[in-house]
Structure formats: structure tokens, C-alpha cells
Symmetry: C2
Subunit: 153 residues, 2 copies
């Protein structure tokens, strides 16, 4: 067995442990670190060591991702915390509130679309100018070019 299996009362974690405890792959932790979302230091053998609160950070990242927040935005939000500290309850309040607003907005858009879809089922219209599905107008406005991201399935 590896050295990461049985260490009670640890105050620092290896990547493998963080991976197992947080449920994300080791490669993903590397990736998050490269993107600045989490931090680590190195031991004498150049291996990553994490403080236990990285688990909370990863948890927050995953929740925000499920809410549809792109990693970049999550990183920016986390980076705004003084000292890059792990969010306190108060920090989490602010973060989750802003993400909730985002989520509310996304839900509202989708709901409006659904309603129009319901109205239009079977109408076969889709006519430019008259069909609401064809007139994104206000809430469903133009979406510019570039890659478009979808909701996690």
C-alpha cells in the first residue's frame, strides 16, 4: 500500500488523499492548481501537500460548477477573498448569494423558453417576426459568436 493510506490526525494531505476525500481526480487537482483555484506547497521530495481546508475549497468549486458557474469565474471569486484564505461562513454567504443570483437568472431564462416552447408546440409557426421563439428580443437576446457552453447534464 502507498504511504497515503493510514495517517490519522494529519494536518497536511497528499494529492491522492485530497482526490479520494473530495471525489475529484488527481489530474483535476493538478488542473485546478494550474488555474489558480487551489494552492499547495511541496515537501522535500517535491510532492504536493495541501492543508485540510483545500477540501472545502474543492467542495465550493463543485457546488458552484453545478450551478453553472464557469471555473474562471469561480477562480476570480475565490481570488477576491483576502489572503486567498479559505472561505469563512461569511465569505461563503457572499459567494453563494452571488452565484444564486446567477442561477436564478439562468432558471428564469430557461423557464421563459420552456413556456414559449409550450405555447408553440404544434403551432408550426416559427415565423420570423411573430413567433416568440424566433424573437429572443429582450431576455433571450443575441448570443454573439464564440463557443457556447451548456448546462451540466
Amino acid at each position: 500500500m502507498g504511504y497515503s493510506a493510514c495517517r490519522p490526525e494529519q494536518r497536511e494531505l497528499s494529492v491522492g488523499e485530497v482526490a479520494r476525500r473530495s471525489g475529484v481526480a488527481v489530474s483535476t487537482l493538478h488542473f485546478y492548481e494550474a488555474k489558480g483555484l487551489i494552492k499547495s506547497w511541496r515537501n522535500a521530495g517535491n510532492q504536493r501537500r495541501y492543508s485540510r481546508d483545500v477540501l472545502r475549497r474543492v467542495a465550493i468549486i463543485k457546488v458552484a460548477q453545478r450551478a453553472g458557474i464557469p471555473l474562471k469565474a469561480i477562480g476570480e471569486a475565490l481570488a477576491l477573498l483576502p489572503d486567498g484564505r479559505t472561505p469563512t461562513a461569511e465569505d461563503w454567504r457572499r459567494l453563494s448569494a452571488s452565484w444564486k443570483a446567477d442561477l436564478d437568472d439562468r432558471i428564469a431564462r430557461l423557464s421563459r423558453l420552456r413556456d414559449h416552447l409550450g405555447d408553440c408546440i404544434g403551432c408550426g409557426c416559427l415565423s420570423i417576426d411573430t413567433c416568440p421563439l424566433r424573437n429572443p428580443g429582450d431576455e433571450l437576446g443575441e448570443q454573439g459568436p464564440g463557443p457556447r457552453l451548456l448546462e451540466p447534464s
Copy 2:
């Protein structure tokens, strides 16, 4: 001026015209064609020609995309239509009904997440085992690996 500016009563359209009328870029039309979502034939000079109903197909594609349906699934749905014909009102009824179910599901997931987020704002818990945000369990189940897509902003 190009040759596509002033042709009244056309029954076939050039890419540029389809692009202008449907609101998507020429490159996107090429892309959709490569993916089998739309079809065209060629004139003597090897230029694409479309029947007018490609506009309806593109309209349907865009609506489905806004509902969060991936292009591949849209293509499969359109391909199921006999003769690859342009959807009739009845076809559209079936298509939009299936996409609406998808949309309903997505909205339901996001709504549950929002509610949990609301419950948890400020609680600072995020504790494994107890926080609903940390327990995707049933409705918010595991999301496998691979690229994740987000909702169109």
C-alpha cells in the same frame, strides 16, 4: 455589390443569403452541413444552394440549442424525420415536446440546486454527509468525466 443582394421570389438561396436571413455566420452553415444538420446542392460553379426551408431548419436548431440540446442530439432528432424532410407542424410538435421534457428536467435540477443553495446560504456548513449541497445523491447525481457544457448566457 454581391450577387446575392436583390433577387426577388427566389426559390433557392446562396449561403450568404441564408446567413443573413437566419442570423448565423456562413462558417456556421458550413459547419452544420458538415455535421449533417442541413443540406444543400451545388450549382454549376460549385457553390452551395439551399431550398428556402433551410431557414426553418436553422430556426429549429437555434431554438433547440437555446433549450440546451446539444447539436448532435438535434441532428439525430432531425434525421429521424422521413426523407429528412423539413419538419411539418406535426413533426415540430413531437420535436418540441421531447425537447421540452429535457428542458423541464434541466430546470428542475437547477431549481433544486437553487433551493439548497438558498437553504445553505450563510450556514457555512458544506459538511460532507450533512449538507445537501454536498450530497448530490439522487437528483444531482454523479456527472461522469468529459467536457461539461454550460447554459448559453
